[in-house]
């Protein structure tokens, strides 16, 4: 018994000693503080876009106009908040060396763009720009362009794209154009003309005279070329139109066609739907040989095909499941799978240029909305909803969509004005793109390059 007690006491002592020892060893070092930042405060980035300085008055005016266009581009994107130039504490003339950053911090500018315009002896202008991070006091990027003075607007868009890219990590989309169908006249005698403008609505011009009805222009993803549908003697005819050269050719007459063909990512093929004995299916046309290959053969109506940017898949709409829904299949027509499962009808699917999403028009509960979903149909989100929204087309960076919207006209339920609108992927930044007349069927160009 005594031995047992003795053993226990020894064990107890060892245990206590062990505990003290381990206590000494595990005394925590002064751990460095670690804080997890999990929620942000998403705000447009305040940027200061200063006028481009020039020693001559004429070039100085160009410098001011360039800065105005850059500010407008960045503001419209919803990601930037250009600061009112009257608040600036440093003049453009003093910004030709490293800026005094404290002056820009005072007005809360986080990005600062400075620049210079020089008139060259040959009549051209040289525009230089620099972008600075105000709080880190670091130079971020810079570039210079030399062009004819008349090209100043494009130079501004190119610089805005540089700022957008450097501060968001994504490609810009300001140096782009939009083709659409300009509409005028009464509903029963509507004149529809093909028109083109810069993405900000400037430099507007008509491409057709309105004698034939035009529909659904589509941009080539590789060049400034479009396809569109026009009714010639009441037969749908597809045209291929080069915007830079003005050259136009007939691609063919296609019975029962309601949407113009869309280009493949390489620009060498177009994919389209065509009716054969009243049944609409998807076809692929080689633009070099003009040969046609049938991709779907189904009793349902398959229409509105659009390629994935890697060219491996095609999304289209079909009523093969009983209602109009979205499908994805391999580019050779195999393995068609339905991807939309929500309530209502889905149409006009368009694959995003960056490949991660498909946009669509949805008709549900008497409303037409524009939405996006992942390419497997998951994460459906409605970006805008109303009386009539239709026909989304992606900006080349896959972050903004343009579509057309008709507002309800009167109590009879007829529509009134048809206008172009853009919306970004968040759904919050919705803007009207001003056109001289009504506009529908917009198509966003790739970057002009």
């Amino acid at each position: 018994m005594r031995n047992m007690v003795g053993n226990l006491t020894n064990r107890y002592r060892r245990l206590v000693a062990g505990l003290i020892l381990s206590f000494v060893v595990i005394v925590p070092a002064r751990a460095e503080l670690v804080i997890d930042i999990t929620q942000g405060n998403i705000q447009p980035l305040p940027v200061a876009i200063t006028d481009f300085f020039s020693e001559t008055e004429a070039a100085g005016l160009v410098g001011q106009k360039i800065a105005e266009v850059i500010r407008a581009d960045l503001e419209r994107s919803g990601l930037f908040a250009p600061i009112e130039p009257r608040a600036f504490l440093q003049k453009p003339v003093d910004l030709q060396v490293t800026p005094v950053f404290s002056n820009w911090r005072k007005i809360n500018a986080q990005g600062l763009s400075t620049g210079l315009v020089r008139a060259l002896p040959d009549g051209r202008i040289n525009v230089q720009f620099r972008l600075w991070d105000v709080f880190s006091e670091q130079y971020l990027t810079g570039i210079q362009y030399t062009s004819q003075p008349t090209n100043w607007r494009r130079t501004a868009h190119l610089i805005a794209d540089q700022i957008y890219k450097r501060l968001t990590g994504e490609e810009g989309y300001f140096d782009t154009r939009i083709v659409y169908v300009s509409e005028s006249g009464p509903q029963d005698r509507r004149i529809k003309r093909l028109a083109i403008m810069d993405q900000d609505g400037e430099k507007h011009q008509f491409l057709t005279d309105g004698s034939n009805l035009v529909l659904t222009p589509r941009f080539s993803p590789t060049q400034q070329e479009i396809t569109y549908l026009s009714y010639f003697n009441n037969r749908p005819r597809v045209y291929l139109y080069n915007i830079d050269t003005g050259q136009q050719e007939v691609l063919g007459e296609f019975p029962g066609m309601t949407f113009a063909p869309r280009f493949s990512p390489s620009g060498n093929h177009v994919v389209m739907s065509m009716a054969d004995n009243g049944n609409s299916d998807i076809y692929l046309m080689d633009l070099r040989t003009r040969s046609l290959k049938r991709l779907t053969k189904h009793p349902g109506i398959d229409t509105a095909p659009s390629f994935s940017p890697d060219g491996s898949q095609i999304t289209f709409e079909s009523d093969r499941g009983g209602r109009q829904q979205l499908y994805v299949m391999n580019a050779n027509g195999s393995n068609a799978k339905r991807i939309s499962f929500g309530r209502g009808n889905y149409g006009t699917p368009v694959w995003s240029p960056r490949g991660d999403m498909i946009s669509f028009t949805k008709l549900s509960g008497g409303k037409f909305s524009i939405g996006v979903m992942r390419t497997d149909g998951s994460q459906e989100r409605i970006l805008t909803e109303g009386f009539h929204n239709e026909g989304p087309s992606w900006a080349p960076n896959g972050r903004v969509l343009i579509f057309f919207r008709q507002i309800r006209g009167d109590t009879s339920g007829r529509g009134d004005k048809v206008r172009l609108w853009s919306v970004d992927l968040t759904g919050y930044n919705e803007r009207e793109v001003i056109t001289p007349r009504d506009g529908s069927d917009p198509a966003w160009s790739p970057l002009i390059r």
């Binding site: 206590f23 070092a29 804080i35 930042i37």
Partner: protein
């Protein structure tokens, strides 16, 4: 035997509690001196024990103090949105703070992430901008040792 040990526990005695508290103080002092001894003989322990000395001087940051710090940084953080896999752009910054809550020099990027591609670069810059923009931070001065070196993990996963 068991009965004997249990008995005193049942009694509630204030003086004993204060004695216990004193004992804890004594034990801390004991540990401190033991740690100092170890310090002399072991260079690895040196760092740890010098830090534990700091523990004695200040209480840990309370949950609400940590949360207040977090809120101050979050207020200024506008991470890039809309990019492909924007939710996966985690940025880790190490910052050193002055007693007045201002940031010493530039925040340091920690870990493998950071500057591999344009998106990471922009995400990192947005985090650095947030840290610099929201300074000075309001933090308990008596706990300076606790927060003078801080690591901030910017993780936008829950935002998208």
């Amino acid at each position: 035997m068991a009965k004997k040990t249990e008995k005193p526990k049942k009694k509630f005695d204030l003086s004993q509690i204060s004695a216990l508290l004193d004992k804890k103080k004594k034990e801390q002092a004991k540990n401190k001196s033991k740690a100092t001894d170890t310090k002399k003989s072991n260079s690895t322990e040196k760092v740890r024990n010098s830090s534990s000395k700091a523990v004695d001087n200040s209480l840990p940051m309370s949950l609400s103090e940590r949360d207040a710090f977090k809120q101050q940084v979050q207020r200024c953080w506008s991470p890039p949105t809309g990019g492909v896999k924007a939710e996966e752009l985690i940025v880790r910054l190490k910052i050193s703070l002055n007693l007045d809550g201002t940031v010493q020099g530039r925040p340091k990027v920690v870990g493998g992430g950071g500057l591999r591609d344009t998106f990471e670069k922009v995400a990192t810059e947005s985090a650095i901008r947030a840290v610099l923009l929201c300074q000075p931070y309001r933090l308990p001065i008596d706990k300076y040792e606790r927060w003078k070196d801080t690591t901030l993990n910017f993780n936008p996963k829950d935002m998208f």
